[in-house]
C-alpha cells in the first residue's frame, strides 16, 4: 500500500494531549500539530487548503451511530448500522463517491468514544431480540489510519460482551498488525473490499494490492477474527470474467469458508452528475464509459443484463471455490436481480436482516446470539 501523508493535524484545543496526536506526530514528524479553540474552529477550517493531507481530531456533537442510508425502496437493503466515526478516506479510488459527496475533503476523526458507545448501547438495549450488524467503514476506510487512531480497539473492547451485535471493520488496506493481539471473543468481522489486480492498479492505486490484502486476511484469520468480503464495486472491463475468477480462486486459497461471515456483491453505481466529476479528477479512468443507465433509484448502473451476468459469474465462482454454505447478498439491488442470480429474493429489507441473523446463529453457535425469530424482524423499524 502507498502510505498516505498527513501535513497538518488540527485538533480541538482540549484534546491536544491525547495519545492519538502523539501517534500522528510520530508517524508524520514533519506534520504540524495545530490546536484550535471551538470559537476559531470554523474560521480556521475554512482557510485550510482542501486536501486529504489534513486531519481533524475532534468530538462529534450530533449522532454518529445511524442506520446505513442504503438506497430507495425499489431495492433491497440489508439494515446495516454504521458508526460514522471517521469521515473521508485518503485512498482516492476513482469511483469513490465520498470525494464528491463529502463537502470537506479533510479527514475527520471523532474520538469521544463514550458518547458514541452510549448511542449504540441505547439502540441495542431498545431491541434486544434483534441482531445488529454494525461497522465503521461507511464514510471512510475502517483501518487505513487505525494503527494511529486506535478506534477499532475501542470498539472491539465494547462489542466483546454484546450478544445481539457483531462489529465489522471494512478496509482496502493491510493495516491489521495492531489488532492481532487484541481479545475479540469472535464478535468481530474484518472485511475487505476486493477487486481483480488490474482494477486495483487502475482504479484503487493507493490502496493495498491484492496480495497485500490477502496477506492481511491470513493474519486476522489465524487469530480467529471472522472474515467478510465485499465485491463492491464490481467493475466491468474487457477481461472481467477471467479477472474475477482469478481473484476468487486466490481468495479461497487463503480464506477458509468456515470463517466467513458474509460476502456482498454490488456493481459500480453513482449519481449521474458524478460522471463529469470523475472524468475531471481522473481523466485516465474508463469506468464511466461502460454501458450504464439510470436505475430505479436514479443512480447510474451497468445495463441490467450485463450486471446480472457479472453477478451470476461471480456467484458461481464463489460457490465453486467456497462451497454452497456461504452467505452471499447484494448491496442495493432489486428483487429481480436477486431472483435471477440466486434463485430467490428476500421479501423485504427486514427479511434480509433476519436471514443474516439466522445464518450467523446457525454457523457460529459460540457467539451466543439470541435465536432469531422471523416474526420479530417484521416488527423492527429502522429509522
Amino acid at each position: 500500500m502507498i502510505n498516505p501523508k498527513i501535513e497538518n493535524i488540527f485538533v480541538d484545543e482540549d484534546l491536544k494531549s491525547k495519545e492519538i496526536c502523539k501517534n500522528y506526530q510520530t508517524k508524520f514528524p514533519k506534520a504540524k500539530l495545530i490546536p484550535i479553540t471551538s470559537e476559531e474552529k470554523d474560521e480556521v477550517l475554512k482557510k485550510v487548503s482542501k486536501t486529504k493531507n489534513n486531519i481533524l481530531i475532534t468530538e462529534a456533537k450530533g449522532d454518529i451511530f445511524k442506520p446505513c442510508p442504503g438506497t430507495d425502496e425499489s431495492h433491497i437493503c440489508c439494515q446495516y448500522w454504521v458508526i460514522n466515526q471517521v469521515w473521508n478516506c485518503p485512498l482516492n479510488c476513482t469511483y469513490c463517491i465520498l470525494q464528491y459527496y463529502l463537502k470537506s475533503p479533510m479527514i475527520i476523526t471523532y474520538i469521544n468514544y463514550e458518547k458514541i458507545k452510549a448511542e449504540i448501547t441505547k439502540k441495542l438495549n431498545s431491541e434486544p431480540d434483534r441482531f445488529f450488524r454494525i461497522g465503521t467503514g461507511e464514510l471512510g476506510d475502517s483501518l487505513v489510519y487505525d494503527n494511529l487512531n486506535k478506534s477499532a480497539e475501542e470498539f472491539i473492547e465494547y462489542f466483546v460482551n454484546k450478544n445481539n451485535a457483531i462489529f465489522e471493520l471494512k478496509t482496502k488496506s493491510d493495516n491489521v498488525d495492531h489488532l492481532l493481539k487484541k481479545e475479540h471473543n469472535g464478535k468481530v468481522v474484518i472485511s475487505w473490499s476486493l477487486n481483480p489486480s488490474e482494477v486495483i492498479m487502475n482504479e484503487e492505486p493507493l490502496s493495498a494490492k491484492l496480495n497485500e490484502r490477502l496477506a492481511g486476511v491470513k493474519k486476522v484469520q489465524d487469530v480467529g477474527y471472522k472474515l467478510g468480503f465485499h465485491f463492491d464495486p464490481i467493475i466491468f472491463y474487457d477481461n472481467w470474467k477471467e479477472g474475477y475468477s482469478t481473484l476468487i480462486k486466490k481468495l479461497f486459497k487463503v480464506a477458509k469458508p468456515e470463517n466467513i461471515a458474509w460476502i456482498s456483491m454490488g456493481s459500480l453505481r453513482f449519481p449521474p452528475e458524478t460522471k463529469d466529476k470523475i472524468t475531471d479528477k481522473f481523466p485516465k479512468t474508463k469506468i464511466v464509459y461502460s454501458e450504464m443507465f439510470r436505475g430505479k433509484d436514479n443512480k447510474s448502473r451497468y445495463f441490467k443484463p450485463l450486471r446480472t451476468e457479472m453477478y451470476q459469474h461471480i456467484y458461481y465462482e464463489l460457490c465453486k471455490y467456497g462451497g454452497e454454505n456461504l452467505f452471499v447478498y447484494f448491496c442495493m439491488e432489486d428483487k429481480d436481480v436477486w431472483q435471477q442470480v440466486m434463485g430467490f429474493a428476500p421479501q423485504n429489507n427486514m427479511h434480509l436482516d433476519f436471514l443474516f441473523a439466522e445464518y450467523l446463529y446457525n454457523k457460529f453457535p459460540k457467539m451466543n446470539i439470541p435465536k432469531p425469530i422471523f416474526k420479530n424482524y417484521q416488527e423492527f423499524i429502522t429509522e
Binding site: 474508463k286 464511466v288 464509459y289 461502460s290 454501458e291 443507465f293 448502473r301 445495463f303 441490467k304 443484463p305
Partner: protein
C-alpha cells in the same frame, strides 16, 4: 472633437468583442439619419489611434462613407481598464452581450489587461472568473466561426458548452451544421463520440469512418431528418452495443407477435424495470374479448420477450 475615419487604425480589433450585429439595421438606420451621437472612444498609442469602444458605429460609418466622426481620445494607458469597462457596461445595460461576447471580453482582459479586477468584472459579466471557467472560455474561442454561430443561434449556456470542447478535430463534424440539428441531439452525439473515443482509444475520425459518416451525409437520396436519425442511431449503437443488440432482439420478438391494432406495447429500453406494458384500446365488449383472446394465445411469446 471630430476626426476622419481614415486616421483610426482600421485593422486593430484588439478590444472588439462583437461576434455579430455589425449589420444591425436599427443602428444602421439611426446613423444614416442622425449621424453618430455618442463619440467613439480611442486610445492614442504612440502615433496610432486604437479603437476601444464603438466598433459597430465605426464600421457602419465607413460603410455609409461618413468621413468625419465624433471621437474621444485618451492617452493614459493606465485608464484602459476603466475605458474598456465603460464600453462593456453600456452594452450590458442595452442587454446586447451574448455569452460568447462575454467570453471574448474575458479573453481580451487576459491578453491585454492581465491585472484586471476580477471581482469587478465577474459582477459585470455575471460569469464566475475561476480557473475552470477560464479554461472553458479559452477553448470556446478556439471554435471555428460556424460553430460559434451555432452556439449563438441555439443560445447554448456556458455549462452545456463543455461537451463540445471535448472533441478537438471538428472539420468533419462541421458538415453536420447545415442539417439544423437540435442542440440536445448534437450534444448527445458529441458526448457519445467522445466517450467511444476514450473507451476504445480511437480517434473521432475513425469512429466517423466506422459509421460511414461522410457517405451518408453526401447521399442525396436521404432526407435531411433521416440523415440525422441514421447517423445518431449508428453512433448510439457504437456507444451502447450491448443494449442495442438486446433491443434488436426484443424488437424482433415484438414484431413476431403480430399485435392487434388496438394493442400498443411499451417496455423500459434500459431493461431496468422488468415487465412489458400492454395498452389495450377497448371500445366495446368485442374489443375486450378479442384482446383477452390475443393475450391468452400469445402468453408464451410475451413472457419470452425480455428473456435472454
Amino acid at each position: 472633437m471630430k476626426i476622419s475615419t481614415n486616421k483610426i487604425k482600421s485593422n486593430s480589433s484588439k478590444f472588439n468583442y462583437h461576434y455579430w450585429n455589425y449589420s444591425s439595421d436599427k443602428l444602421n438606420n439611426s446613423i444614416k439619419y442622425s449621424g453618430i451621437n455618442n463619440p467613439i472612444v480611442l486610445l492614442q498609442n504612440q502615433k496610432e489611434l486604437i479603437p476601444i469602444h464603438g466598433f459597430r458605429r465605426l464600421e457602419i460609418a465607413k460603410k455609409l462613407n461618413i468621413s468625419d466622426i465624433p471621437v474621444k481620445i485618451f492617452t493614459d494607458e493606465n485608464n484602459l481598464e476603466n475605458l474598456f469597462m465603460e464600453s462593456v457596461i453600456e452594452n450590458t445595460i442595452n442587454n446586447e452581450l451574448n455569452i460568447y461576447e462575454k467570453c471574448k471580453i474575458i479573453q481580451i482582459l487576459n491578453n491585454y489587461l492581465p491585472d484586471y479586477n476580477k471581482n469587478y468584472w465577474q459582477k459585470t459579466l455575471e460569469i464566475p472568473l475561476n480557473e475552470k471557467n477560464e479554461k472553458i472560455i479559452n477553448s470556446i474561442l478556439q471554435f471555428p466561426k460556424e460553430w460559434i454561430e451555432f452556439f449563438i443561434e441555439k443560445n447554448v449556456p456556458l455549462k452545456r458548452i463543455k461537451t463540445f470542447t471535448k472533441i478537438d478535430n471538428l472539420e468533419l463534424l462541421t458538415k453536420l451544421l447545415p442539417l439544423n440539428i437540435s442542440l440536445n441531439r448534437m450534444e448527445q452525439m458529441f458526448q457519445f463520440l467522445f466517450e467511444i473515443s476514450q473507451r476504445d482509444e480511437i480517434t473521432v475520425k475513425s469512429i466517423l469512418d466506422i459509421v460511414n459518416f461522410e457517405p451518408i451525409l453526401m447521399d442525396s437520396t436521404i432526407e435531411k431528418q433521416d440523415t440525422i436519425k441514421i447517423l445518431y442511431d449508428r453512433i448510439y449503437n457504437l456507444r451502447y452495443p450491448l443494449q442495442s443488440k438486446y433491443l434488436e432482439i426484443v424488437e424482433k420478438k415484438v414484431k413476431e407477435l403480430k399485435i392487434n391494432n388496438n394493442i400498443k406495447i411499451q417496455y423500459d429500453k434500459t431493461f431496468e424495470r422488468s415487465g412489458i406494458n400492454f395498452i389495450l384500446n377497448i371500445k366495446n365488449k368485442n374489443d375486450l374479448q378479442k384482446s383477452i383472446e390475443w393475450l391468452k394465445n400469445n402468453t408464451n411469446k410475451i413472457t419470452n420477450i425480455t428473456k435472454k
